[in-house]
Symmetry: C2
Subunit: 217 residues, 2 copies
Protein backbone atom coordinates (compact mmCIF):
# COMPACT_ATOMS: atom_id res chain seq x y z
CA UNK A 1 0.00 0.00 0.00
CA UNK A 2 2.79 2.44 0.90
CA UNK A 3 4.50 1.57 -2.38
CA UNK A 4 1.39 2.57 -4.31
CA UNK A 5 1.19 5.87 -2.45
CA UNK A 6 4.79 6.66 -3.18
CA UNK A 7 4.42 5.70 -6.82
CA UNK A 8 1.51 8.15 -7.01
CA UNK A 9 3.66 10.86 -5.48
CA UNK A 10 6.42 10.08 -7.96
CA UNK A 11 3.93 10.38 -10.83
CA UNK A 12 2.45 13.60 -9.44
CA UNK A 13 5.94 15.12 -9.22
CA UNK A 14 6.67 13.83 -12.72
CA UNK A 15 3.49 15.40 -14.10
CA UNK A 16 4.32 18.74 -12.47
CA UNK A 17 7.73 18.86 -14.22
CA UNK A 18 6.15 17.56 -17.44
CA UNK A 19 3.93 20.65 -17.30
CA UNK A 20 7.01 22.87 -17.07
CA UNK A 21 8.57 21.10 -20.05
CA UNK A 22 5.34 21.50 -22.05
CA UNK A 23 5.31 25.21 -21.27
CA UNK A 24 8.90 25.52 -22.52
CA UNK A 25 7.94 23.82 -25.79
CA UNK A 26 4.85 26.05 -26.19
CA UNK A 27 6.80 29.27 -25.54
CA UNK A 28 9.44 28.31 -28.07
CA UNK A 29 7.00 26.98 -30.73
CA UNK A 30 8.54 23.53 -30.62
CA UNK A 31 6.81 20.31 -31.63
CA UNK A 32 8.11 17.63 -29.26
CA UNK A 33 7.32 13.94 -29.51
CA UNK A 34 8.25 10.90 -27.44
CA UNK A 35 9.27 7.88 -29.54
CA UNK A 36 8.61 4.59 -27.73
CA UNK A 37 8.89 0.91 -28.64
CA UNK A 38 10.39 -2.47 -27.77
CA UNK A 39 14.16 -2.77 -27.99
CA UNK A 40 15.20 -3.18 -31.61
CA UNK A 41 12.00 -1.99 -33.32
CA UNK A 42 13.97 0.61 -35.24
CA UNK A 43 13.47 3.88 -33.33
CA UNK A 44 17.01 5.08 -34.01
CA UNK A 45 16.87 3.99 -37.65
CA UNK A 46 13.62 5.93 -38.16
CA UNK A 47 15.30 8.91 -36.54
CA UNK A 48 18.25 8.57 -38.93
CA UNK A 49 15.99 8.39 -42.01
CA UNK A 50 14.02 11.38 -40.69
CA UNK A 51 17.14 13.51 -40.18
CA UNK A 52 18.41 12.54 -43.63
CA UNK A 53 15.10 13.57 -45.16
CA UNK A 54 15.03 16.92 -43.36
CA UNK A 55 18.70 17.47 -44.24
CA UNK A 56 18.96 20.63 -42.14
CA UNK A 57 15.75 22.21 -43.52
CA UNK A 58 13.92 21.54 -40.25
CA UNK A 59 15.77 22.58 -37.09
CA UNK A 60 15.81 19.46 -34.94
CA UNK A 61 17.27 18.47 -31.59
CA UNK A 62 17.32 14.93 -30.23
CA UNK A 63 17.25 13.56 -26.69
CA UNK A 64 18.37 9.93 -26.55
CA UNK A 65 17.39 7.67 -23.66
CA UNK A 66 19.33 4.49 -23.01
CA UNK A 67 19.80 2.15 -20.08
CA UNK A 68 23.58 1.99 -20.36
CA UNK A 69 25.23 3.35 -23.49
CA UNK A 70 25.53 6.36 -25.74
CA UNK A 71 25.52 4.22 -28.90
CA UNK A 72 22.37 5.91 -30.25
CA UNK A 73 23.68 9.43 -29.70
CA UNK A 74 26.83 8.36 -31.56
CA UNK A 75 24.64 7.25 -34.49
CA UNK A 76 22.81 10.61 -34.46
CA UNK A 77 25.97 12.70 -34.10
CA UNK A 78 26.84 12.42 -37.79
CA UNK A 79 23.64 14.27 -38.79
CA UNK A 80 24.96 17.43 -37.23
CA UNK A 81 21.99 18.11 -34.94
CA UNK A 82 22.15 18.85 -31.20
CA UNK A 83 21.84 15.52 -29.38
CA UNK A 84 21.75 14.92 -25.63
CA UNK A 85 22.19 11.40 -24.29
CA UNK A 86 20.45 10.42 -21.05
CA UNK A 87 21.85 7.21 -19.58
CA UNK A 88 19.38 5.90 -17.01
CA UNK A 89 21.85 3.42 -15.39
CA UNK A 90 19.34 0.60 -15.20
CA UNK A 91 16.21 2.79 -15.15
CA UNK A 92 13.48 1.45 -17.39
CA UNK A 93 11.99 4.72 -18.66
CA UNK A 94 12.68 8.42 -19.10
CA UNK A 95 10.87 10.82 -16.78
CA UNK A 96 10.06 14.51 -16.94
CA UNK A 97 12.85 15.69 -14.56
CA UNK A 98 15.46 13.89 -16.72
CA UNK A 99 14.08 15.68 -19.79
CA UNK A 100 14.03 18.99 -17.92
CA UNK A 101 17.74 18.56 -17.14
CA UNK A 102 18.51 17.60 -20.72
CA UNK A 103 16.68 20.70 -22.03
CA UNK A 104 19.20 22.92 -20.21
CA UNK A 105 21.75 21.69 -22.75
CA UNK A 106 19.69 22.61 -25.82
CA UNK A 107 19.18 26.09 -27.29
CA UNK A 108 15.38 25.91 -27.50
CA UNK A 109 15.08 29.17 -29.41
CA UNK A 110 17.00 27.65 -32.32
CA UNK A 111 14.88 24.51 -32.85
CA UNK A 112 11.43 23.69 -34.27
CA UNK A 113 11.29 19.98 -33.49
CA UNK A 114 12.43 17.94 -30.48
CA UNK A 115 12.55 14.18 -30.82
CA UNK A 116 12.84 12.22 -27.59
CA UNK A 117 13.85 8.60 -28.12
CA UNK A 118 12.82 6.69 -25.01
CA UNK A 119 14.40 3.58 -23.49
CA UNK A 120 13.38 0.44 -25.44
CA UNK A 121 10.48 -0.80 -23.31
CA UNK A 122 6.82 -1.27 -24.24
CA UNK A 123 5.59 -1.23 -20.63
CA UNK A 124 6.99 1.36 -18.23
CA UNK A 125 7.38 4.46 -20.46
CA UNK A 126 3.60 4.35 -21.13
CA UNK A 127 2.88 5.97 -17.76
CA UNK A 128 5.37 8.83 -17.87
CA UNK A 129 4.39 12.16 -19.38
CA UNK A 130 7.57 13.96 -20.43
CA UNK A 131 5.75 17.12 -21.54
CA UNK A 132 5.67 15.95 -25.16
CA UNK A 133 2.86 16.85 -27.55
CA UNK A 134 2.34 13.17 -28.23
CA UNK A 135 3.70 9.66 -27.92
CA UNK A 136 4.60 7.81 -31.10
CA UNK A 137 4.88 4.05 -30.78
CA UNK A 138 6.93 1.95 -33.20
CA UNK A 139 5.98 -1.69 -33.76
CA UNK A 140 8.09 -3.73 -36.12
CA UNK A 141 6.58 -6.48 -38.28
CA UNK A 142 9.12 -8.93 -36.85
CA UNK A 143 7.44 -8.65 -33.42
CA UNK A 144 4.21 -10.20 -34.74
CA UNK A 145 0.72 -8.73 -35.00
CA UNK A 146 -0.49 -9.25 -31.41
CA UNK A 147 1.55 -6.61 -29.58
CA UNK A 148 -1.17 -3.91 -29.38
CA UNK A 149 -3.34 -6.37 -27.42
CA UNK A 150 -0.53 -7.45 -25.11
CA UNK A 151 0.93 -4.00 -24.38
CA UNK A 152 -2.29 -2.04 -24.73
CA UNK A 153 -1.51 0.79 -22.34
CA UNK A 154 1.26 1.96 -24.65
CA UNK A 155 -0.90 1.72 -27.76
CA UNK A 156 -3.77 3.49 -25.96
CA UNK A 157 -1.54 6.36 -24.82
CA UNK A 158 0.08 6.84 -28.23
CA UNK A 159 -1.32 9.11 -30.92
CA UNK A 160 0.66 7.62 -33.80
CA UNK A 161 1.75 4.10 -34.67
CA UNK A 162 4.66 3.49 -37.02
CA UNK A 163 4.64 -0.05 -38.37
CA UNK A 164 8.32 -0.49 -39.25
CA UNK A 165 10.32 -3.12 -41.16
CA UNK A 166 7.54 -3.65 -43.72
CA UNK A 167 10.24 -4.92 -46.13
CA UNK A 168 10.42 -8.05 -43.93
CA UNK A 169 6.70 -8.91 -44.25
CA UNK A 170 7.34 -11.74 -46.77
CA UNK A 171 9.62 -13.48 -44.27
CA UNK A 172 7.81 -13.10 -40.94
CA UNK A 173 4.67 -14.38 -39.29
CA UNK A 174 2.86 -11.05 -39.18
CA UNK A 175 -0.36 -10.06 -40.94
CA UNK A 176 -0.26 -6.30 -41.30
CA UNK A 177 -4.05 -6.04 -41.54
CA UNK A 178 -4.37 -7.93 -38.25
CA UNK A 179 -1.77 -5.65 -36.69
CA UNK A 180 -3.66 -2.53 -37.87
CA UNK A 181 -6.95 -4.02 -36.71
CA UNK A 182 -5.56 -4.90 -33.26
CA UNK A 183 -4.04 -1.44 -32.87
CA UNK A 184 -7.24 0.36 -33.90
CA UNK A 185 -9.31 -1.88 -31.63
CA UNK A 186 -7.21 -0.64 -28.68
CA UNK A 187 -7.08 2.95 -29.93
CA UNK A 188 -9.40 3.96 -32.79
CA UNK A 189 -7.78 7.40 -33.07
CA UNK A 190 -4.31 6.11 -33.95
CA UNK A 191 -2.69 7.63 -37.01
CA UNK A 192 -0.75 4.83 -38.70
CA UNK A 193 2.33 4.98 -40.92
CA UNK A 194 4.03 2.00 -42.55
CA UNK A 195 7.77 2.34 -43.01
CA UNK A 196 10.96 0.56 -43.91
CA UNK A 197 14.32 2.07 -43.04
CA UNK A 198 15.96 -0.32 -45.52
CA UNK A 199 13.91 0.65 -48.60
CA UNK A 200 12.85 4.11 -47.28
CA UNK A 201 9.19 3.20 -47.91
CA UNK A 202 6.81 5.52 -46.07
CA UNK A 203 9.53 7.89 -44.84
CA UNK A 204 8.32 10.79 -47.01
CA UNK A 205 4.71 10.51 -45.72
CA UNK A 206 5.93 10.29 -42.14
CA UNK A 207 8.26 13.30 -42.46
CA UNK A 208 5.65 15.40 -44.28
CA UNK A 209 3.23 14.68 -41.44
CA UNK A 210 5.81 15.84 -38.88
CA UNK A 211 6.33 19.12 -40.73
CA UNK A 212 2.59 19.84 -40.51
CA UNK A 213 2.72 19.48 -36.71
CA UNK A 214 5.37 22.15 -36.22
CA UNK A 215 3.79 25.35 -34.84
CA UNK A 216 4.27 28.47 -36.99
CA UNK A 217 6.59 31.19 -35.69
CA UNK B 1 15.80 8.23 -0.91
CA UNK B 2 12.72 6.64 0.68
CA UNK B 3 11.83 5.15 -2.70
CA UNK B 4 15.18 3.40 -2.84
CA UNK B 5 14.69 1.99 0.65
CA UNK B 6 11.25 0.68 -0.19
CA UNK B 7 12.47 -0.83 -3.45
CA UNK B 8 15.11 -2.65 -1.40
CA UNK B 9 12.44 -3.96 0.95
CA UNK B 10 10.37 -5.10 -2.01
CA UNK B 11 13.37 -6.92 -3.42
CA UNK B 12 14.22 -8.46 -0.03
CA UNK B 13 10.65 -9.78 0.27
CA UNK B 14 10.83 -11.00 -3.32
CA UNK B 15 14.09 -12.82 -2.66
CA UNK B 16 12.64 -14.48 0.43
CA UNK B 17 9.71 -15.93 -1.58
CA UNK B 18 12.09 -16.80 -4.43
CA UNK B 19 13.97 -18.93 -1.90
CA UNK B 20 10.73 -20.77 -1.06
CA UNK B 21 10.04 -21.37 -4.76
CA UNK B 22 13.60 -22.66 -5.27
CA UNK B 23 13.16 -25.07 -2.38
CA UNK B 24 9.93 -26.37 -3.96
CA UNK B 25 11.77 -27.01 -7.23
CA UNK B 26 14.65 -28.74 -5.43
CA UNK B 27 12.36 -31.00 -3.40
CA UNK B 28 10.45 -32.04 -6.51
CA UNK B 29 13.52 -32.46 -8.76
CA UNK B 30 12.31 -29.81 -11.17
CA UNK B 31 14.49 -27.81 -13.53
CA UNK B 32 12.90 -24.34 -13.72
CA UNK B 33 14.02 -21.56 -16.01
CA UNK B 34 12.91 -17.98 -16.56
CA UNK B 35 12.64 -17.01 -20.23
CA UNK B 36 13.13 -13.27 -20.77
CA UNK B 37 13.38 -10.99 -23.81
CA UNK B 38 12.00 -7.95 -25.60
CA UNK B 39 8.41 -8.16 -26.81
CA UNK B 40 8.26 -10.17 -30.03
CA UNK B 41 11.66 -11.89 -29.84
CA UNK B 42 9.99 -15.27 -30.11
CA UNK B 43 9.76 -16.59 -26.53
CA UNK B 44 6.39 -18.24 -27.09
CA UNK B 45 7.44 -19.65 -30.48
CA UNK B 46 10.56 -21.19 -28.91
CA UNK B 47 8.32 -22.65 -26.23
CA UNK B 48 6.03 -24.13 -28.91
CA UNK B 49 8.94 -25.71 -30.81
CA UNK B 50 10.30 -27.06 -27.51
CA UNK B 51 6.98 -28.65 -26.52
CA UNK B 52 6.62 -30.14 -30.02
CA UNK B 53 10.11 -31.62 -29.76
CA UNK B 54 9.49 -33.11 -26.30
CA UNK B 55 6.08 -34.37 -27.48
CA UNK B 56 5.09 -35.56 -24.00
CA UNK B 57 8.40 -37.39 -23.31
CA UNK B 58 9.47 -34.68 -20.85
CA UNK B 59 6.87 -33.68 -18.27
CA UNK B 60 6.60 -29.91 -18.59
CA UNK B 61 4.49 -27.18 -17.03
CA UNK B 62 4.42 -23.58 -18.22
CA UNK B 63 3.79 -20.31 -16.41
CA UNK B 64 2.97 -17.49 -18.83
CA UNK B 65 3.43 -13.86 -17.82
CA UNK B 66 1.66 -11.14 -19.77
CA UNK B 67 0.73 -7.52 -19.15
CA UNK B 68 -2.87 -7.88 -20.30
CA UNK B 69 -3.86 -11.03 -22.19
CA UNK B 70 -3.86 -14.80 -22.05
CA UNK B 71 -2.96 -15.09 -25.77
CA UNK B 72 0.25 -16.98 -24.99
CA UNK B 73 -1.43 -19.50 -22.69
CA UNK B 74 -3.95 -20.10 -25.48
CA UNK B 75 -1.07 -20.85 -27.87
CA UNK B 76 0.41 -23.28 -25.34
CA UNK B 77 -2.90 -24.97 -24.49
CA UNK B 78 -2.87 -27.12 -27.64
CA UNK B 79 0.31 -28.91 -26.50
CA UNK B 80 -1.59 -30.50 -23.66
CA UNK B 81 0.72 -29.37 -20.84
CA UNK B 82 -0.37 -27.63 -17.63
CA UNK B 83 -0.21 -23.87 -18.28
CA UNK B 84 -0.93 -21.07 -15.81
CA UNK B 85 -1.37 -17.53 -17.08
CA UNK B 86 -0.35 -14.61 -14.87
CA UNK B 87 -1.79 -11.31 -16.08
CA UNK B 88 0.13 -8.49 -14.41
CA UNK B 89 -2.45 -5.75 -15.30
CA UNK B 90 0.18 -3.26 -16.32
CA UNK B 91 3.01 -4.68 -14.20
CA UNK B 92 6.29 -4.78 -16.09
CA UNK B 93 7.76 -8.00 -14.67
CA UNK B 94 6.90 -11.22 -12.86
CA UNK B 95 7.92 -11.50 -9.22
CA UNK B 96 8.43 -14.42 -6.85
CA UNK B 97 5.09 -14.09 -4.99
CA UNK B 98 3.19 -14.23 -8.31
CA UNK B 99 5.08 -17.42 -9.19
CA UNK B 100 4.44 -18.84 -5.73
CA UNK B 101 0.69 -18.32 -6.25
CA UNK B 102 0.84 -19.87 -9.72
CA UNK B 103 2.68 -22.93 -8.36
CA UNK B 104 -0.37 -23.74 -6.19
CA UNK B 105 -2.17 -24.57 -9.45
CA UNK B 106 0.46 -27.03 -10.69
CA UNK B 107 1.01 -30.61 -9.53
CA UNK B 108 4.75 -30.29 -8.92
CA UNK B 109 5.22 -34.01 -8.26
CA UNK B 110 4.15 -34.77 -11.84
CA UNK B 111 6.59 -32.48 -13.69
CA UNK B 112 10.33 -32.43 -14.47
CA UNK B 113 10.59 -29.07 -16.16
CA UNK B 114 8.97 -25.69 -15.43
CA UNK B 115 9.24 -22.99 -18.04
CA UNK B 116 8.38 -19.47 -16.91
CA UNK B 117 7.81 -17.05 -19.78
CA UNK B 118 8.25 -13.56 -18.40
CA UNK B 119 6.64 -10.31 -19.56
CA UNK B 120 8.32 -9.00 -22.72
CA UNK B 121 10.74 -6.48 -21.25
CA UNK B 122 14.54 -6.39 -21.39
CA UNK B 123 14.90 -4.08 -18.39
CA UNK B 124 12.78 -4.72 -15.29
CA UNK B 125 12.68 -8.55 -15.12
CA UNK B 126 16.50 -8.57 -14.83
CA UNK B 127 16.30 -7.71 -11.14
CA UNK B 128 13.67 -10.19 -9.99
CA UNK B 129 14.69 -13.65 -8.84
CA UNK B 130 11.70 -15.97 -9.24
CA UNK B 131 13.47 -18.96 -7.70
CA UNK B 132 14.45 -20.29 -11.12
CA UNK B 133 17.66 -22.26 -11.71
CA UNK B 134 18.64 -19.77 -14.38
CA UNK B 135 17.53 -16.94 -16.63
CA UNK B 136 17.54 -17.54 -20.38
CA UNK B 137 17.51 -14.44 -22.54
CA UNK B 138 16.26 -14.48 -26.13
CA UNK B 139 17.60 -11.91 -28.60
CA UNK B 140 16.27 -11.95 -32.11
CA UNK B 141 18.44 -11.03 -35.09
CA UNK B 142 15.85 -8.44 -36.12
CA UNK B 143 16.67 -6.39 -33.00
CA UNK B 144 20.22 -5.73 -34.19
CA UNK B 145 23.55 -6.76 -32.69
CA UNK B 146 23.95 -4.03 -30.04
CA UNK B 147 21.31 -5.11 -27.50
CA UNK B 148 23.70 -6.88 -25.04
CA UNK B 149 25.55 -3.57 -24.62
CA UNK B 150 22.38 -1.52 -24.20
CA UNK B 151 20.54 -3.88 -21.84
CA UNK B 152 23.57 -5.34 -20.15
CA UNK B 153 22.02 -6.15 -16.77
CA UNK B 154 19.77 -8.72 -18.40
CA UNK B 155 22.61 -10.29 -20.39
CA UNK B 156 24.83 -10.30 -17.29
CA UNK B 157 22.17 -12.02 -15.17
CA UNK B 158 21.33 -14.64 -17.80
CA UNK B 159 23.13 -17.97 -18.08
CA UNK B 160 21.99 -18.77 -21.60
CA UNK B 161 21.44 -16.64 -24.71
CA UNK B 162 19.21 -17.87 -27.50
CA UNK B 163 19.82 -15.95 -30.72
CA UNK B 164 16.49 -16.43 -32.48
CA UNK B 165 15.21 -15.74 -36.02
CA UNK B 166 18.53 -16.69 -37.63
CA UNK B 167 16.58 -17.42 -40.84
CA UNK B 168 16.14 -13.63 -41.17
CA UNK B 169 19.89 -12.86 -41.10
CA UNK B 170 20.08 -12.27 -44.88
CA UNK B 171 17.45 -9.53 -44.61
CA UNK B 172 18.41 -7.63 -41.45
CA UNK B 173 21.17 -5.35 -40.32
CA UNK B 174 22.64 -7.73 -37.73
CA UNK B 175 26.07 -9.31 -37.70
CA UNK B 176 25.74 -12.47 -35.67
CA UNK B 177 29.47 -12.52 -34.81
CA UNK B 178 29.17 -8.98 -33.44
CA UNK B 179 26.09 -10.00 -31.46
CA UNK B 180 27.95 -13.00 -29.97
CA UNK B 181 31.00 -10.86 -29.27
CA UNK B 182 28.93 -8.15 -27.56
CA UNK B 183 27.08 -10.72 -25.46
CA UNK B 184 30.27 -12.50 -24.38
CA UNK B 185 31.94 -9.19 -23.61
CA UNK B 186 29.12 -8.48 -21.10
CA UNK B 187 29.00 -12.07 -19.84
CA UNK B 188 31.82 -14.45 -20.82
CA UNK B 189 30.05 -17.45 -19.26
CA UNK B 190 26.98 -17.26 -21.52
CA UNK B 191 25.99 -20.49 -23.24
CA UNK B 192 24.73 -19.50 -26.70
CA UNK B 193 22.23 -21.25 -28.97
CA UNK B 194 21.20 -20.07 -32.43
CA UNK B 195 17.65 -20.93 -33.42
CA UNK B 196 14.91 -20.37 -35.95
CA UNK B 197 11.34 -21.28 -35.12
CA UNK B 198 10.51 -21.10 -38.85
CA UNK B 199 13.13 -23.59 -40.08
CA UNK B 200 13.55 -25.37 -36.70
CA UNK B 201 17.33 -24.77 -36.90
CA UNK B 202 19.01 -25.24 -33.53
CA UNK B 203 15.90 -26.53 -31.75
CA UNK B 204 17.35 -30.04 -31.31
CA UNK B 205 20.56 -28.73 -29.69
CA UNK B 206 18.57 -26.45 -27.41
CA UNK B 207 16.14 -29.17 -26.33
CA UNK B 208 18.91 -31.71 -25.78
CA UNK B 209 20.66 -29.20 -23.55
CA UNK B 210 17.48 -28.71 -21.50
CA UNK B 211 17.14 -32.47 -20.97
CA UNK B 212 20.66 -32.58 -19.52
CA UNK B 213 19.69 -29.95 -16.91
CA UNK B 214 16.77 -31.96 -15.49
CA UNK B 215 17.73 -33.46 -12.11
CA UNK B 216 17.52 -37.27 -11.88
CA UNK B 217 14.74 -38.76 -9.73
Amino acid sequence: MSVITIERKVLAKNDEIAGLNRELFRKNNIFAFNLVSSPGSGKTSILERTLEYFNGKVKVAVIEGDVQTDLDAQRIAKYNVPAVQIVTRGGCHLDAPLINDALKNIDLKSIQLLIIENVGNLVCPANYDLGEALKIVVASTTEGDDKPLKYHEMFRNASVLIINKIDLLPYVNCNIETLRHNALRINPRLIIFETSCTTNAGITDWCDWIVKQIPPR
